[in-house]
Symmetry: C2
Subunit: 464 residues, 2 copies
């Protein structure tokens, strides 16, 4: 056996108890919200057929998929030519499986494979890790959790309105108050392209204005011109970056600009319908404001979102009082399952970025102390006699549903106390000869340092 100093792969992480408990707190809030809205859990395998994943994420994405080496004598199906043709060619010969790259393609695959058993509209959520061979850097990992909810098989814009509500609900439940839910519509973007005289060029326009936050108006101008958008069109486009007023006022301005384009009409109609749903649902996303006094839900015509498969409403969420990229996003797609030969299934979905949400809650100190799981009380023993005395008490505590531990050895008091301290166990019971004689045990509050004598029954009712 090797005795090397062990390590973990770059870009992966161990999560110790304190972190797992906090992460589970976030997952718990998200799950409860998804379920309150009728979404149910799905789990797919970590390994997918490589052929299922290839070609779904663009050339760059294909490079970032982790491939699994065929087991056994994987070379026995290869010829010398296969090796001469290089890694890319050889991969297909020696690897048939790969690690899940996102949760969207496996979801589409599941829907297609189970189309006859599924009741549509099918609402599912999925919280599982994905793997990408990206260069690791701060906040970017090679293994990370995605947290998706999608509904397929309905065009109803109630789904979009409910997504806004779920985002608002999750973030509010997590204690966040200063965030903005941005919404836009691919029809608006297509309408804009047509209105500025570049009909059909919304793809190039989207890619460029998606970078507005990063490279600024000048940078976007440069990129648009490079992409062959006319100077006249770019000049017409720029005022749209700074539309102001309430959402209703922006919708009215857009009506004037895009009202005559088919796509613009579609976008405006959809967005107005989402607003109507939210109003009927008395949604807090409409009535709440962020700290700078703006509406929490904001129509933002510069929101483009990278993914090419969106066709309708698109969403993105930013926390305003922390420097952090978007923590949630999504949109409607019209043909997700088309990649597997099942056309015309419209759906809409979104996801939460749990690593980013974790960092935000950490920075804003929003993790509740009650999200500390683990033992409520540690029984401290001094010798065989106190251990024997402690054992039935330990059982009584656990029978009462209280997580409890007896330190497993008669170690030094200091060691036992430091164990409680390190594990954040809030109470300690000291069982010495005096306590055994009197039947009154010392209960110590580890935070305040306060100590008081109680019977075991009193301790149980105190801790419950």
């Amino acid at each position: 056996m090797s005795k090397e100093k062990p390590s973990i792969p770059k870009g992966t992480r161990d999560f110790g108890p304190a972190v797992v408990v906090k992460r589970n707190y976030i997952f718990g809030v998200i799950k409860r919200t998804f379920e309150k809205f009728g979404y149910l859990p799905l789990e797919t395998p970590a390994m997918e057929q490589l052929s299922v994943l290839t070609g779904k994420y663009g050339d760059e994405g294909d490079q970032l998929i982790f491939k699994i080496l065929n087991s056994g004598d994987f070379l026995n199906k290869t010829k010398p030519e296969d090796i001469e043709q290089g890694s890319k060619h050889l991969t297909r010969k020696i690897s048939e499986k790969a690690l899940r790259y996102d949760l969207t393609v496996p979801f589409a695959r599941f829907v297609v494979m189970n189309r006859n058993e599924i009741t549509f509209p099918f609402k599912r959520y999925q919280i599982q890790p994905v793997w990408r061979a990206d260069r690791p850097q701060k906040g970017r990992y090679r293994e990370f959790y995605q947290c998706d909810a999608d509904v397929v098989g309905t065009n109803s814009l109630l789904c979009e309105a409910e997504i806004v509500q779920m985002i608002n609900g999750v973030l509010t439940d997590l204690g966040l108050t200063d965030f903005t839910i941005k919404i836009n519509h691919r029809g608006i973007l297509a309408g804009i392209a047509e209105a500025i005289g570049e009909k059909g060029r919304e793809g190039d326009i989207c890619v460029a204005i998606d970078k507005l936050d990063k490279i600024g108006q000048e940078g976007v101008r440069k990129e648009l011109l490079e992409r062959g958008i006319s100077e006249e069109a770019v000049t017409k486009l720029e005022p749209l970056y700074n539309l102001s007023g309430t959402n209703e006022q922006i919708l009215d301005q857009l009506q004037t600009i895009l009202g005559e384009t088919a796509e613009g009409k579609r976008g405006l109609k959809d967005l107005r319908e989402v607003w109507n749903y939210l109003q009927a649902l008395q949604s807090e996303a409409l009535t709440s404001k962020n700290e700078s006094g703006e509406q929490r839900l904001q129509l933002d015509v510069t929101l483009a979102r990278g993914l090419s498969y969106y066709t309708g409403c698109i969403f993105e969420v930013k926390v305003n009082n922390v420097s952090m990229g978007s923590i949630s996003g999504g949109g409607r797609y019209d043909n997700l399952t088309g990649m597997f030969g099942m056309p015309d299934v419209s759906g809409v979905g979104f996801s939460f970025g749990v690593d980013r949400i974790y960092d935000v809650l950490d920075e804003l100190q929003l993790f509740p102390t009650s999200s500390q799981e683990g033992s409520k009380v540690l029984l401290v023993q001094f010798d065989k006699e106190s251990e024997q005395y402690a054992l039935p008490l330990l059982q009584q505590l656990r029978d009462a549903g209280i997580s409890a531990e007896l330190y497993p050895e008669a170690a030094k008091l200091k060691k036992q106390m430091s164990y409680a301290d390190q594990k954040s166990i809030p109470y300690v019971v000291l069982i010495g000869s005096e306590e055994i004689a009197s039947g009154k045990l010392k209960l110590r509050n580890m935070q305040s340092g306060e100590q008081q004598d109680f019977t075991i029954e009193e301790i149980i009712s105190n801790l419950k």
Copy 2:
């Protein structure tokens, strides 16, 4: 994009909502029990360095590890000779990472990497999938969950007693009543080897008698002789297969047979101490009997368990009223972290086989109906007017903490009802023009078919 009929890799599974909910029920019971005993969650990456895993599971195990192909141009570090030397040699050149094969080695790695931050005794549980390139067959998968709890850094046999209690607690909470927790000790097995004149040969003896259930006494005899155990020794050994009486009586018989061997003495002393702990804890594992009237906890000297790293007590659990292999097992090891150069860390651990437990609960129909998550009520709409009327009611239901859905379109009644039925939604509210006029809504119990008129407030208090 490819339009092939998608599939999932052999030996892997999709878990749809109904199954995930049932699996989560099992995980929930296990987690709550682990935490009640002071065990805290750990999560390690799915990918480990291949060097961390290689050599830890024997030659056969090494073959079954899923290796991950290095990303990018993985051939650029290989020479033609590397390819000529075949798959096994080439693997080391083109793969540096592999999928987790069990949870024990990653746990040992975590302990060694974090030895300076960890407070010992360190009690952790871990519930994550593992991957093995085994030939898939009924009940054997290439991706499956393991569910481990271990404590390292203490020799106290209180840990063994608490493992018996945790096993008993989990299975009882899951509704199982007819199961046997078998316990033995490696010292007993070594003592037996010595007592029959084959000192130091307990390894061979263990491998053979581990198969007693499968190949019977004659088969074991044959294997023992083949392994070079003398006929005399085998003849001395055989009466031990059928020791009878209570555990105390068996301990007494073993005292006579092994009492003079050092290892036998150690085993007997440890086992008696575990019994003393369980008595002081008033453990149900001691007082409960299985359906054939035997004690639930049984000392079984033929229990060997395959894994070579066990050194003290060993456990295995069988459900008696179902034909199924062991659903839980474990034992004490003295040198788990030695593989990474950190000697003398004693620990004891065990795990639950969740796939088998799932099948047992399914067969015995022990899944509670309340483990059905998902919506409590579906609002059925007939037209735009009933949708508008339904939206604020939907919000009221959710605000009251009731999982609720409004069918997102005014589809045919039959379609909406079948949606509720398929998703096992127990209640449906019908909102037609009559109901809107009267303010009394029809609440239908989907199981009984009963229908009654209520106000929304009455419905909320009914469903809560």
